[in-house]
Symmetry: C2
């Protein structure tokens, strides 16, 4: 079985905590199919070492990923990308997108943007 490359990185400039950055990168790669089901994640100690961070941050990211069904972990064996069907992947991807969008939507309504205005704003700024 051949598996995809796992690419993970940490931005110290990000406002998001490390565990959150890892969660999103992995979840995104899974629901977009960049990471196929069953792909083994690097051992947390090795990853902590190569990223120059603590095991704690990775552990927390992995915990939440498992809680949300994105990965499965087996003691002594390792952690693996969950095997989501195409349908499931699609709905989870939509879920994540909505999760990103919802908080902004609330603010944008507060700013009095109509649906039409909002769509226009996005059309003009999607790229970049």
């Amino acid at each position: 079985m051949i598996h995809m490359e796992i690419s993970l990185s940490i931005l110290n400039t990000s406002d998001k905590p490390i565990y959150r950055q890892l969660y999103e990168q992995l979840a995104f790669q899974i629901v977009t199919g960049k990471l196929s089901g069953g792909t083994p994640l690097p051992p947390i100690r090795a990853l902590a070492n190569s990223l120059g961070i603590s095991v704690i941050s990775i552990k927390r990211a992995w915990e939440e990923l498992e809680r949300d069904g994105f990965i499965v972990t087996m003691v002594g064996r390792g952690c693996f990308a969950a095997d989501l069907g195409d349908e499931e992947r699609g709905s989870r991807r939509r879920e994540l997108a909505l999760g990103e969008l919802r908080p902004s939507l609330a603010s944008l309504r507060q700013l009095g943007l109509t649906k039409a205005e909002l769509i226009e704003l996005i059309s003009e700024n999607y790229d970049e």
Copy 2:
């Protein structure tokens, strides 16, 4: 001169810091015209007391609001909503909207959403 009502509130359940909540509420009310130029803000001590928070949080919000041109402060007199022209209000409103949207846009592209998909997602979830 008659001025608008200023409504400010703090949500302890919010993930955003107090000073940020205040900043946004005030900036939003100003660019949407709910707060007309020259309207006096409550004295920071009185406001701190009535909201049950510290002066520090208010001070910081006010500082950033002044830095960004939303209010003007005069020692001994008080703080007042800045007097923005209609045009200026419009462009600042657009600025704030983009500021809310931009971080989400980056994530949404990471999720592989096309412009069309994104617009559809918004159309379906603008209300609620």
